[in-house]
Amino acid sequence: MKQFLFVLRRPPHSGAFVQEMLDIVLTTAAFDQPASVLLLDDAVFQLKHGQQPADFGMKDTASIYRALEIYDVKHVYAELESLEERGLKPADLGLPVQTIYRKDIASLMRRHQVLFSG
């Protein structure tokens, strides 16, 4: 069994990319592999509270995150500096996340066998 860390860096609603990445996260978890998610850079917007993408005819990818818990995805991390640089606080996110300092990301990555960039 390998520990998966999905490192997401793109903003929501940038084409099908985010939705398709979350499909991989869910599939990995459905195959009983330990999976965690790390939100970096513009990916911290993926969980921004109060999005209403349906108004624009787009899928609400933030709601997919709520399924992660059902699939036993252990941890959702958000980089604190990425949040701050974008004027966001953890309370602005629609799900509770664990914040992590940039300086601690390397050691987080070292604790996983598979780093999945997307």
């Binding site: 390998k2 990319f17 398709e20 991989i24 599939t27 997307g118």
Partner: protein, 129 residues
């Protein structure tokens, strides 16, 4: 060493597929194994049978088909990514009441489980694009 590869970008949108191909070719020449290449997002266009680049340009699809045949590599296009973009294998086309067979030789369509399985069995997993 056993490698599993994933390609996320379309063949002419970036160099990702080209770099992955060169990586696979070199790894195989050095005696490593490439068990499976998984094509996702716009990467699924690598498997489009009807792509016809000019003779003097790099033909991604033909190169992958030839490499897969030579080294028995499993080239898998993600079914949901492919269907969304209108790329169907014969079986799936029939099931949908269509008449296509869009897949180039050596490629097949399967689910994301094939990706997870490949990652689990590989010593190294690389994402391109």
């Amino acid at each position: 060493m056993k490698f599993a590869l994933q390609i996320n970008a379309g063949p002419y949108a970036s160099n990702a597929g080209h770099t992955a191909y060169r990586f696979a070719e070199t790894a195989l020449a050095m005696g490593h194994e490439v068990e499976r290449v998984f094509f996702y997002h716009d990467g699924i266009y690598h498997g489009l049978r009807y792509a016809t680049p000019p003779d003097d340009e790099f033909d991604c699809t033909a190169r992958w088909s030839a490499l897969a045949e030579r080294h028995r590599i499993d080239l898998v296009l993600c079914i949901s990514a492919a269907q969304k973009r209108g790329l169907l294998c014969r079986d799936e086309a029939e099931r949908q009441g269509k008449h296509d067979d869009d897949l180039a030789p050596g490629f097949r369509i399967a689910g994301l489980g094939q990706l997870v399985e490949a990652i689990r069995h590989a010593d190294r997993f690389l994402v391109f694009g």
